[in-house]
């Protein structure tokens, strides 16, 4: 489904379905990308799609970090990093790797690697959850 969604974006609108870029565009923090209303509608669709899925199948299983601090720190760094690196799991991961973009392959290997190191360090420090 994620692949089909990204394919619709590419073949329908000629653009990359990169969530970090579209999110920044939708709230006016980026000048690149589609018309702002298109980004806003995509973001709304993301929220509604997950809600509809839950409506059909029942609650989506999810376990969050034990403290809000993880979400605040993770969110801040994710927001800054995805803008600096021009993409996240969707843009570099799904869209970039599938066109064999060297740039995206480097980004994906890097963020999966740094994510693994981060989790390992948190575990070693006794903060695993």
């Amino acid at each position: 489904m994620i692949g089909i969604a990204a394919a619709i974006m590419l073949l329908g609108l000629g653009r990359i379905a990169g969530v970090s870029g579209l999110a920044a565009r939708s709230i006016g923090l980026s000048d690149a990308g589609p018309p702002r209303i298109v980004a806003m509608v995509f973001i709304a669709g993301l929220i509604l799609g997950a809600l509809a899925f839950q409506g059909v199948t029942g609650p989506i299983e999810s376990t969050y970090p034990p403290s809000m601090g993880w979400l605040i720190a993770g969110g801040l760094i994710t927001g800054f990093g995805t803008r600096l690196g021009s993409g996240c799991t969707s843009g570099h991961g799904v869209c970039g790797m599938s066109r064999l973009s060297r740039r995206s392959i480097v980004a994906v290997v890097t963020f999966i690697g740094s994510g693994m190191v981060t989790v390992a360090i948190v575990n070693l420090a006794g903060g695993g959850w």
Binding site: M1, L13, E61, G79, S86, V122
Partner: protein, 136 residues
């Protein structure tokens, strides 16, 4: 209007796909990154599956002169590997590992799990705003 309908369809399928795949469960994402501990590699198949579908879409794209609802393709370059890219990816990985959420699942969780997802997304937007403020 046509563009908005296509964006809504793409976004909704994306959100449904994230819910289906387990990407909206931070502990599962954490398990995917926990290679030295209780590693759960299943999310790699989610990314792999989506990437395969997209690879087919890129083959179609090469035969199209323009997308269905716009006058041309607006696609980023693929070759530039600089410090911005690598440093940004390092930071994003750290954030992903700390929170167990990346931007898509964070936003998609806003209606389903409003409080924790809201905290993550507001922080992420703040991070994006800080980047905009310091960007040269």
């Amino acid at each position: 209007m046509r563009q908005a309908i296509i964006a809504l369809l793409s976004g909704a399928l994306f959100g449904g796909g994230l819910a289906l795949s387990g990407m909206m469960d931070p502990s599962r994402v954490r398990g995917f990154l926990d290679i030295a501990g209780h590693w759960d590699p299943t999310l790699a198949f989610v990314m792999g599956g989506a990437t395969l579908v997209m690879a087919a879409a890129w083959l179609v794209q090469r035969r199209m002169e323009r997308p269905i609802a716009d006058t041309g393709f607006s696609l980023p370059g693929t070759d530039l590997i600089d410090r911005r890219l690598t440093l940004g990816a390092v930071l994003f990985g750290v954030g992903w590992g700390l929170a167990g959420l990346c931007p898509g699942p964070g936003i998609a969780s806003l209606a389903v799990n409003p409080v924790p997802a809201g905290v993550f997304v507001i922080s992420m937007v703040a991070g994006m705003a800080i980047f905009k403020a310091v960007e040269k």
